[in-house]
Amino acid sequence: DARVTQTPRHKVTEMGQEVTMRCQPILGHNTVFWYRQTMMQGLELLAYFRNRAPLDDSGMPKDRFSAEMPDATLATLKIQPSEPRDSAVYFCASGLVWTGMNTEAFFGQGTRLTVV
């Protein structure tokens, strides 16, 4: 059963600490998305990759957030330093996209981040 795997599922950290969230996309998918979900803002697109290359990271606070895909089986989202306002659920999603075709995103279960 193919699925997107995210780790950790929950993370509580102190303000100022570095946080790294990991995502294993579905094998064969060429696109990876990072979203952040809060009650106030809903699902916000932070960044996305195509064939491991970053296409758009305009949704991320550049000074503290970074997203990478070191290989096709791993995507990471890092926050350094973390702040209480970063508390949210972070979702990774993957999809198989061909130019001109639809983009359907398959989501992981999310990482619930609490920064105290």
Binding site: L45, G95, N102, E104, G110
Partner: protein, 110 residues
């Protein structure tokens, strides 16, 4: 900036009732998807609509894409408690970016 709006924001109905939720935008999307999200889980894709005017049915759920590909609706017939969840519409932009609306939180009371 392409934005999606959804209405209503919250909906609480009795089991057996029918309902419609809406997704609107001022922008044209190449395709639009509907997802359902349950507490503690990620959104799960229900359907994708591509062609203006397209109607798709999934058991008791009927999805429609507007002729101009700027809006969509989801109609549920005879709602059941298992339909409870957050319904999200998402649009694919011209750059294959998937953006989401704020969602409609549905509660079906037995």
């Amino acid at each position: 900036t392409q934005l999606l709006e959804q209405s209503p924001q919250f909906l609480s109905i009795q089991e057996g009732e029918n309902l419609t939720v809406y997704c609107n935008s001022s922008s044209v999307f190449s395709s639009l998807q509907w997802y359902r999200q349950e507490p503690g889980e990620g959104p799960v894709l229900l359907v994708t609509v591509v062609t203006g005017g397209e109607v798709k049915k999934l058991k008791r759920l009927t999805f429609q894409f507007g002729d101009a590909r700027k809006d969509s609706s989801l109609h549920i017939t005879a709602a059941q408690p298992g339909d409870t969840g957050l319904y999200l519409c998402a649009g694919t932009t011209s750059y294959d970016k998937v953006i989401f609306g704020p969602g409609t939180s549905l509660s079906v009371i037995p």
